[in-house]
């Protein structure tokens, strides 16, 4: 079984197991887990064969948005990533168009329920929950809906500690723990109702919002509509881009951190933003090797502390590199990259091929803002916050939720006071991109014990300042963006080390042995990997090999889920060591990539499997309207509703030298996700239980 049983942060729960079959083969699953994760846990990665060309398909979004992971479950085509396994379930590969399942006799119609609320918040992630709490404080009748079975949105997938400020947004706390806190906080407000497993399907012109709640259809009539719908990952076009095993970092984190399955043995990552860097770290924590990470720009766009963290553990980062192709028969087997020049053109002869079974695409996010547009069009009081409004960190999302709630209150006439200006200022800081990287400061360290702050890039973060009991860590400027400095007393309490989200604080201690200091290093990779008495290799801030050292102690701070490894270091390296190096870098094999059929091997619309070659031919024939392109090629006509390909399509026009301003955008129509026809009239099956079975997994 490809399950994660040991994890430095997450504890696998004891869960009941059930049996199901896949194409007749007997498999085991945890009760209630999604079919997709259960299949992965059983080593099955090909779920369906596309009706156009029989291409293998598997998990892609793991988020209920596409239909790449469709399987036949007990005779019904379902999205396996949002359909729980039941004991005895018969799961089969979906080959081509599914056969219409014979229906249970319909016994009656419940109709669509209607519900009136003051505020409807779509999305129970950081911004939505923060907004709902503010509304709850003033007793506004609020409904929060989220399509997942637990609140928190993407926070639930984040095992790392967050940046930002402690007072505004739980900095230094892990994402999963922040989700729990936000959820707990909502319980204090009886006017706030929460529906999980409830998907917004459309905002209609008559100002009613269609919500699919489990197997029931509800029309909600809100006075104010708040889109806290987050973001979706951008996709990339390259030959082999739809092989099973190519997917977004979000899907990966869902499999690994939510469902605790190990979807890969060896991973390659495209994209050096925070999402890609963090995904690499999460992979290492889950015991998955990371063969490399590429970034097309000269420098990774993510926080330097995230980048340094994975460099120290031995993950090679190739900047100014691009993905050339992914190869494999039934899934990814190898990945080929190449260097690019300043105009992102591949430099021939620089190709390198790596063996990898999974390729994560983490090349940025696009806001999910279509409900907001629909709500505005319908004439609703419409608001938008978090990533749906502007892509930024979760810390900023929470703050923007709070601010948005106050705009809502004003619109509802609940509170006349304006939103204080400093909130907006604070939000701007939290949304900041990383700033300058400062040079190494001169260390004046008269103390016998002191923290070394390996944090040299300006980012909005201050937990170390907040936790120091001696107030010896201060920011070097007025803004939370400035880097922290240590001066004064240190008692060696480890608080700054434990709280630092960047794992960028060490404690050097000469108290016991003035000639041979000890260095306490933060460590979040598997328990038991490092033991007292081990000889380990030390890594400098950016991964430099600092030689061997002996482990004196491993302290496990269970409450914080953080380990500290204390090593004996030579004074020359004591201030420089930041981590233990775990892996040796793997050099790729030099190989020329075969790009003869690249345009046909690159899929732009993955639902309908429309290739880059087909799109180019239409563009060259004069097509300038994405709606016409859709009509003649089916690009954008599939299950996902062009969520993945619409941005890629514009990219193809650009690559053909056509100004996107000349291109007419796709007209977006409901529904947001597919839902069975029967639910809209509340069609009831033979029995209540039967009904649940039938309608599960839209």
């Amino acid at each position: 079984m490809d399950r994660i049983t040991e994890h430095p942060v997450l504890q696998p729960e004891e869960r009941r197991t059930v049996n199901f079959t896949f194409d007749g083969r007997s498999c085991e699953a945890f009760e209630g887990e999604m079919i997709s994760s259960a299949l992965y846990a059983n080593g099955i990665k090909v779920f369906s064969r596309h009706k156009k060309d029989g291409a293998p398909q598997g998990v892609f979004c793991a988020n209920g948005q596409c239909a790449q992971c469709s399987v036949i479950a007990d005779g019904l085509p379902v999205k396996s990533c949002v359909t729980p396994v039941r004991g005895g379930m018969r799961v089969e590969t979906m080959s081509g168009a599914p056969r219409l399942p014979s229906a249970a006799p319909v016994r009656g119609f419940g109709g669509a329920e209607e519900l009136e609320v003051d505020a409807l918040v779509v999305g129970g992630g950081p911004s939505g929950l923060a907004a709902a709490a503010e509304l709850g404080k003033l007793n506004v009748k609020t409904l929060v809906i989220d399509d997942k079975h637990a609140l928190g949105g993407k926070l639930l997938l984040q095992t790392h500690k967050f940046f930002g400020s402690v007072e505004d947004c739980y900095a230094g706390t892990r994402g999963i723990d922040i989700a729990a806190k936000l959820e707990e906080q909502l319980k204090e407000y009886p006017s706030v109702e929460v529906w999980t497993g409830a998907t917004c399907l459309a905002v209609f012109s008559d100002r009613k919002v269609g919500v699919l709640r489990g197997s029931r259809y509800v029309l909600v009539r809100p006075k104010a509509f708040i889109s806290a719908t987050g973001a979706r990952e951008k996709s990339l076009s390259f030959p082999g881009n739809t092989l099973p095993g190519v997917y977004g970092a979000g899907a990966f984190q869902t499999l690994v951190n939510r469902d605790m399955v190990r979807p890969a043995k060896k991973l390659f990552i495209v994209g050096g933003g925070n999402v890609g860097l963090i995904a690499a770290y999460h992979a290492l924590q889950a015991g998955i090797q990371v063969a490399g990470l590429i970034e097309a720009q000269a420098e990774c766009g993510g926080y330097k502390v995230h980048k340094d963290k994975i460099r120290r553990l031995g993950v090679p980062i190739y900047t100014r590199h691009t993905i050339v192709r992914a190869d494999g028969r039934e899934g990814v087997e190898s990945v080929t990259i190449a260097g690019v020049d300043e105009r992102f053109r591949v430099q021939p002869g620089t190709e390198k091929t790596f063996k990898a079974d999974t390729l994560l695409v983490a090349v940025g996010l696009n806001p999910v803002n279509e409900f907001h547009a629909q709500a505005l069009e319908a004439g609703l009081e419409a608001f938008i916050c978090g990533d749906a409004e502007e892509i930024a960190e979760a810390s900023a999302a929470m703050f923007s939720g709070k601010i948005t709630a106050h705009k809502v209150l004003k619109a509802l006439g609940v509170m006349a006071a304006p939103v204080p200006q400093f909130w907006f200022d604070r939000l701007e800081v939290l949304k900041s991109r990383p700033g300058a990287t400062e040079p190494e400061p001169e260390l004046e360290l008269p103390n016998k014990v002191y923290p070394v702050l390996h944090c040299r890039q300006e980012i909005p973060c201050n937990p170390c300042v907040t936790v120091c009991p001696k107030k010896s860590i201060k920011l070097s400027g007025d803004s939370i963006m400035t880097t922290p400095r240590f001066s004064g007393d240190c008692i060696g309490c480890y608080k700054c080390l434990i709280v630092c989200p960047g794992l960028a604080v060490t404690i050097v201690d000469y108290r016991k042995d003035p000639a041979n200091p000890t260095v306490a290093l933060p460590f979040e990779i598997g328990r038991g990997l490092v033991k007292k008495g081990d000889r380990v290799r030390l890594a400098g801030r950016e991964g430099a090999d600092l030689g061997e050292a002996e482990v004196l102690d491993v302290k496990d701070f269970k409450a914080e889920n953080t380990m500290i490894v204390v090593v004996k270091a030579a004074p020359a390296v004591a201030d420089k060591a930041v981590s233990i190096r775990l892996y040796e870098e793997e050099a790729g094999k030099k190989a020329a990539a075969d790009l003869a059929k690249a345009d046909d091997e690159t899929i732009i619309c993955r639902c309908e499997r429309v290739s880059l070659g087909e799109i180019r031919r239409q563009i060259r024939a004069g097509v300038r309207d994405l709606n016409q392109l859709k009509a003649v090629t089916r690009a954008g006509m599939g299950a996902c509703g062009s969520k993945t390909c619409s941005a890629l399509l514009l990219g193809v026009f650009r690559s053909e030298g056509i100004d996107p301003a000349e291109v007419t955008e796709l007209t977006r129509r409901p529904l947001f996700v597919e839902a069975p026809l029967g639910v809209f009239s509340g069609a009831r099956g033979a029995g209540e239980k039967e009904e649940e079975v039938r309608w599960s997994g839209f």
Binding site: K51, A67, L76, P77, G96, A97, P98, R99, L100, P101, S102, A103, P105, V106, F109, G111, A112, A202, F204, S205, D206, K208, G210, Y217, L219, E377, A378, V623, R624, D625, N627, Q628, K630, A631, V632, A639, G641, T664, R669, P670, L671, E674, A675, P676, L677, G678, V679, F680, S681, A683, R694, F698
Partner: protein
């Protein structure tokens, strides 16, 4: 802008304008098609669900329908591109005594025109749509020669052929005036320039009345809306277009079929009618159509709805199109008021109109236009809108 004089300027690159341009080009006439949208079929054509029938209730429409079916059904063989044509037939299942009487009366008219349509038994209905509700099923009318095609693929196929044969298209240009010289329509003014022609054809679909007022000719065309949807694809499980003419709580008839790619496409006629140009989806549609379709054909309950939309039916008072050369303005041609049947009538009407414009109208071409004059009383009622 060029002083080229065209044989015809067609306002509207939709279900009617595009096949008309193709038919004119086939006759060697030079057509310019203007549309405010960015590509062909972006008005109501893409809202059509794709049904194509000849089984109407009057001679003109029946003839135009037969002509269209000939074009759709032979397209792939003649021109190579797949437009999704399926000869699945039209089925009107009947559950009430009154509907049986109305449809059987109509049958007599339809058979009188030589149409291949007949009353079929409940057993035969169940064979055609396995799983259809049996309670009170009395049988139905079935016309096996009717069918369906993809409006999206068809309009683009017609467009490509029209262009290949010399027709010109200008998109993203809105018509701002119709130029009248010496008492005759002589050209068109748009946001992009002026164009001159012997004929100016109004094929502006839902905008027909506004466009016609630019020529000073009033046409009684007002759009009402219908909502439609498409499901995920499934393996083929029934062939005909199923039309349920019973009234619902908030609707008149509705109809659905499984198209060439496997999804079920469905459309509902709201009752009371909703007039105007609004094309935003309403919350009434899905609950109403779901209840009706699932009652009639319970297996559909499981099929997932993928997308919904709302399209306009450019209605005339009597439910018949206006296809005419109005006497009040020479050179001005009306091909409007298709009442939601522009897609199925367009190619047939296009051929007939082109023949008239080329001065080569045969008996059949004359018979097609005969029922669609602007001067008629509009007091009758189409029985099978």
């Amino acid at each position: 802008m060029s002083k080229t004089k065209y044989d015809a300027i067609i306002i509207g690159a939709g279900s009617v304008g595009v096949p008309l341009a193709m038919s004119l080009a086939e006759r060697g006439l030079k057509a310019l098609v203007l549309d405010k949208e960015a590509s062909p079929g972006q008005g109501q054509n893409k809202c059509a669900i794709g049904g194509i029938r000849a089984t109407h209730s009057d001679g003109s429409k029946i003839k135009a329908g037969l002509r269209s079916i000939e074009i759709f059904s032979t397209w792939k063989r003649k021109h190579g591109d797949d437009i999704g044509w399926i000869r699945g037939g039209y089925l009107f299942p009947v559950y009430t005594e009154n509907d049986e009487r109305v449809l059987k009366e109509l049958l007599r008219v339809q058979k009188g025109f030589g149409l291949d349509i007949d009353w079929i038994s409940p057993e035969r209905v169940k064979e055609l749509v396995p799983g259809i509700a049996e309670k009170d099923l009395r049988g139905g009318t079935y016309s096996p020669g009717d069918g369906s095609a993809s409006p999206l693929l068809s309009v683009n196929a017609f467009y490509r052929r029209a262009v290949k044969l010399g027709a010109e298209f200008r998109f993203r240009e809105t018509v701002t005036g119709i130029i009248v010289q010496g008492g005759a329509a002589a050209g068109v003014r748009t946001t992009g320039g002026e164009y001159w022609a012997r004929f100016v054809v109004n094929a502006a679909g839902a905008d027909a009345a506004a466009v016609s007022s630019l020529a000073g000719v009033e046409v009684p065309v007002n759009p009402d809306c219908h909502e439609a949807g498409v499901t995920e694809p499934a393996e083929r499980f029934f062939d005909p277009m199923v039309v349920d003419i019973r009234p619902g709580e908030k609707s008149k008839n509705y109809y659905f079929y499984q198209n060439h790619e496997g999804p079920v496409i469905f459309c509902l006629t709201p009752q009371p009618p909703v007039w105007g140009h609004d094309r935003r989806s309403t919350s009434d549609f899905l609950p109403e159509v779901s209840r009706r379709m699932v009652s009639l054909f319970p297996a559909l309950a499981n099929l997932k709805v993928r997308r919904t939309w709302r399209g306009l039916y450019p209605m005339t008072p009597d439910g018949f199109p206006v296809v005419d050369f109005p006497e009040t303005l020479k050179g001005y041609v009306l091909a409007v008021g298709m009442c939601g049947q522009g897609f199925m009538l367009g190619p047939g009407l296009g051929e007939a109109l082109a023949a008239h414009m080329a001065g080569a109208a045969g008996e059949d071409d004359k018979a097609i236009l005969a029922g669609f004059g602007l001067g008629r009383s509009f007091s009758g009622q189409e029985k099978l809108k």
